[in-house]
Structure formats: C-alpha cells, structure tokens
C-alpha cells in the first residue's frame, strides 16, 4: 500500500492513503431510487442468513411435492373427462381454481417464515445497530425507509409464491386446462399473494419497530399470525361461518382468492371481509412502524 504523510508543519503525522479517493463529479439519481436501494441491499443481506435459505429450501420442497400432486390430480381429471365424466368432475371441483388455491396453501408456511426472517427483525436490528443514524443522515425520508424495508421483507417470499403460481399454472395448461381459465386463476392467486404479503409484512414490521430485540419481535409476529389463525379457524368451525376466516393474518388472503374465484361461500358485504382484513392488518402494522420511526431516538437528538 502506498501512503504519504501529511507534510505541513504542525499537522498530524499519520499516513493517509489517497491513491484513488477524489471528488465525485458524476450524476446522481432521483430520491425515488432510494426505496429500491434499501430493498435490494436488504435482500442481499438476508441471503447470508441460514434461516432464509432453509425457508426457501422448504418452499422448494413443497413446490415440488405440490407440483407432483397437482400434476397427478389434473392428469386423472383429464382421464375422467376423456371417459365422459367431465360434468361430474366440473361439479366436484374446478381444476383451474387449484392453481391459485393450491399455490397459496402450499407456500403459507415458508412464506410466514421468510417474512419472519426478513421483516420481523429488520427494524429491531436497525435500532440496535444504530442504522437509523446511517439512513437518516443521508437523503432518505421515513417513507423511503419504510417502503424499502417492506419490499425487502417480502422479496424472497414473493419470489417463492410467484414461482409456485407460475409453475402450477404452466402445469395446469400442460394437463389440459383452458388458458383463459388458468390465467383468471393465476390473477386471483396473484391478488392473494399480494394481500398475504402485505398483511404479513405489515405485522412483521410493526412488531419489529416495537423493540430492539429481534427474537422478541419474531415471537410477537409468530404469536399474532398463529394466534389469529387459531381463533379464526375456531370461530369459523364453531359458528359455521366462513367469514371468520378473514380474521387470520395469513388465512384472509386465501379467503380473498377463494372469493375472487367464487368458492368462498361468502355472500354480499361479507365478500369484502377478507380483503378488508388483509389490508387492515398490513396498514395497522405499517402505521405503527411509521409512528415509531417518527419518534425514534435519532430524531429526538
């Protein structure tokens, strides 16, 4: 390493290595880019964590298992239809709907864990490591930071969900599904994935903003996701009302997709419940995180 010493009289005498550090004269990108930067670096950092890789591996295994199961089911359906039992099959189940519903059911567990690893510790870790000062001493606003963290929290989970949806849709087309029907189911599945990820990430970031301890934030997140699922399932069974499923942070999105496909059994205004619930969970968590960020100690000075 080449170094040279500061030579002026009275100046400190330590070495300064200055081969390439010079003034920057290039252009700068607009502030909106900061959101993408925050999300991208979060995804890169998450990839170093074993938990994220394990959850993705679990998602891959489930994807393979469900693909085999769905392929066998749809091939059998095709065989039944070839034997003239098409009406009966259509009455029992619409195979195109499986594309959306099976994808959501296949990946709910890895999705919950991926958002937990990526989102439930995100703000807590930043609080602990002093990363608020790092971010907010730069041209970054609270909104940039929060949306960037939201995208970072759902990045890996959305990739897994969309790959699953796409693969099942392709498999369905390959096993005789009509393209228009499969695309409709695919779109309904995308809405479900979006709602699920919004609700999960909102809850994760909200929990994360309440503490500096990642483990505590993850426990609160899992408690809310698991607790609401248990309560929703219990109420739904006890009162024989599918609308109660909308209470679940993770299950509401499946109900919403089923509603779009017309298989949820919900009628009238109740059809809006799973959509409203998912949006409310996501918004409540993000609002909590936003309020905490506005009052964080770096702002108080």
């Amino acid at each position: 390493m080449n170094g040279d010493s500061v030579a002026k009289p009275g100046a400190p005498t330590g070495s300064v290595y200055d081969l390439s550090y010079k003034r920057y004269t290039g252009g700068r990108r607009s502030p909106a880019w900061r959101i993408g930067v925050i999300a991208r670096y979060a995804l890169v950092a998450q990839w170093k964590r074993r938990g994220v890789k394990v959850a993705l591996g679990l998602g891959g295994l489930l994807l393979a298992g469900f693909s085999v199961f769905a392929g066998a089911k749809w091939a059998a359906t095709r065989a039944f239809q070839a034997q003239g039992a098409g009406a009966l099959v259509a009455e029992l189940s619409n195979p195109n709907h499986d594309v959306a519903l099976m994808a959501l059911r296949a990946q709910w567990l890895p999705t919950v864990f991926l958002v937990m690893f990526a989102g439930a510790g995100a703000i807590a870790n930043d609080l602990k490591a002093g990363a608020f000062q790092f971010h907010f001493a730069r041209p970054v606003q609270v909104g940039h930071y929060l949306v960037g963290r939201l995208l970072g929290a759902v990045g890996w989970a959305s990739l897994l969900s969309l790959v699953t949806l796409t693969l099942l849709a392709a498999l369905r087309v390959a096993t005789g599904g009509d393209v228009a029907g499969v695309l409709g189911a695919f779109a309904a599945g995308c809405v479900g994935v979006l709602l699920r990820l919004l609700a999960l990430a909102g809850v994760a970031l909200g929990a994360s903003s309440m503490t500096r301890r990642q483990g505590l934030a993850q426990t609160v997140y899992l408690g809310l996701v698991g607790g609401t699922t248990i309560v929703a399932t219990g109420l739904s069974d006890a009162r024989d009302g599918a609308v109660w499923n909308a209470l679940s942070v993770v299950g509401a999105s499946t109900s919403a997709t089923a509603t779009l496909l017309g298989t949820s059994g919900l009628e009238g205004v109740a059809r809006l419940a799973p959509f409203g619930s998912s949006l409310a969970w996501g918004a409540a968590g993000l609002l909590l995180a936003w309020r905490r960020l506005r009052g964080a100690e770096v702002m108080r000075g």
Partner: protein, 298 residues
Amino acid sequence: MTNVARRYEGVTALDGVSLAIPPGRTALLGPNGAGKSTLLKILLGLVKPTEGRVEVLGHDPQRDPLAVRLRVGYMPEDDAHLPDMNAVELCAYGAELAGLPPAEAIERAHAALFYVGIDDKRYLPVESYSTGLRQRAKLAAAIVHDPDLLFLDEPTNGLDPQAREEMLSLVYDLKDRRGCDVVLSTHLLSDVERVCSHVIVLGAGKVLADAPLKSLIEHDDPAYELRIKGDRARFVEALKAKGCALQEGGPGPTLMVVPPALGDPSAIWEAAVASDTQVRSLVPRRHSLDEAFLKLLR
C-alpha cells in the same frame, strides 16, 4: 444559525444559539450535555428547532433536508452499521442512498476504504471489527458520497495513540487536500489543537465562545516565559530593578515576566546583561486550550 433554541420536556438543549460556521476545520467543544449532538442533528434536519432559523450550505434543513444531507456527511459517535454487511457493502450502500449509480458506488466504496486505511479486512462483517476499524469504516461511509461538509462526532473515541494520529491526519487531509469542510464535535481538547482552526464552545445550551483557535489560546496579559542559566536570585533582582513584574505559574525553572513596556522585552534583555545571566529561551506566554476552555466554563 440565528437564535436557535431546542427544548424538550423540562430540558433546554439549546438556548438562543446564533453562530456561523466558517470554512475549514471547526471544533464544536463542550462538556457532556452541552447540546453538541442536538446542534449537529438540527444542522442535519433530524431535529426540529423549537425556534430560530437554520441554513446549511444555502438550504434550510427543515424545509429541504434531503438537499442538505446530499452535500453533508455525518460520522456519528455511536455505532452506525447494518447487520450482515461488510465494509464494502456498507459504503456502497451509503453511496447509493446518496444517489450514486451502483457501479460508481462500488468504485467509490473501495476508494474511500483505501483512503481511511482499511484494506484486507474490508470484506469482513463490520460488527466483527475492532473499535479503531469501526471508526475508520464510519468515516469511509461518511465521505463515500463526496460531501462538501462533514460532521464528525467524537471520531477519536476509543482509539489507541497511533490510530488516533491517523484519524486526525485524515481529518486534516480532508480539508487540506480534498476541500471538504469539517465540523469536529469532541471533548478532547488536544484533538482540537491538532487539527482545528476555529472553535465554538457550547455550555448548557449556549455559545460560550466562537472564535479562531489562535485568539483563544493567545494570552491577553503580555507575559513572557523565560528559561535562564545563571544566578536566578540575582536575575530576579535585576528584573525588578528594570521595572519588570514577576508572575506565579512558571513550571520548574521557568520564570513568568511582564516587562514594563507592553510587547517589548528589551527590559528583560537589559536585566540579563546586568546580572550576567544567560537567557536560554524567551517566548510570549500562551494559554493552553484547556485553560481557555475551563475559564469559559467557569
């Protein structure tokens, strides 16, 4: 900033502060709780002043904080890294947040890390670094986007003498050869004396002094520090005969002498000749910054 105040519940962190930070290396001095950190955060637009007006590089940090932070670098006193990131990623991240394209950000991250003296350890996670390396990494992250003004909050905290010297050299070099103005917030007076040309002293939320370092450490009474070889008693008698006054405070064999004519030490020379005494050194007396600082706080 003009008449800036910041009050929290029952606590006044800053009280009617008016100052203009000149170009160069400026020290922000003060005891704990003097309001230094609050002042820096107001300048960055992170904290809203209760009253008063602030302008940084032509922008109001409250109205246009992003424009200020684009041109300002901040090295906080506490740890400020991101979990699971190494130093290269941390600096490149900081550069991209300041709007640099990814390729430029990576290039400047390496340049900044090289500049602060982190070489082969740059790919290790920052949380595994020693205190000295963390301070260097924080400095690299603060300068990677090429700020015009740099706020350094206690940059030499926890550093060994060699690392401290190197950090001060970087602070010196940043202005001297890179043209980046520096505000150094510290309570280490020796650091200030080494690198700063202007000093702002805060105490209990008020500005106690805002002056060039030179004027703070120059003594207002025209005494001279003398070291002699010869008969001390005889020399003292000769000094008194020539109308010189002697002061207390000279360390060891040093004499503190005030000649009768302000700024004219000729009476001292005459006394030396008269008493056959050899004058080994004669310098105008200077305050240390410690003395000036303590005097201001009193």
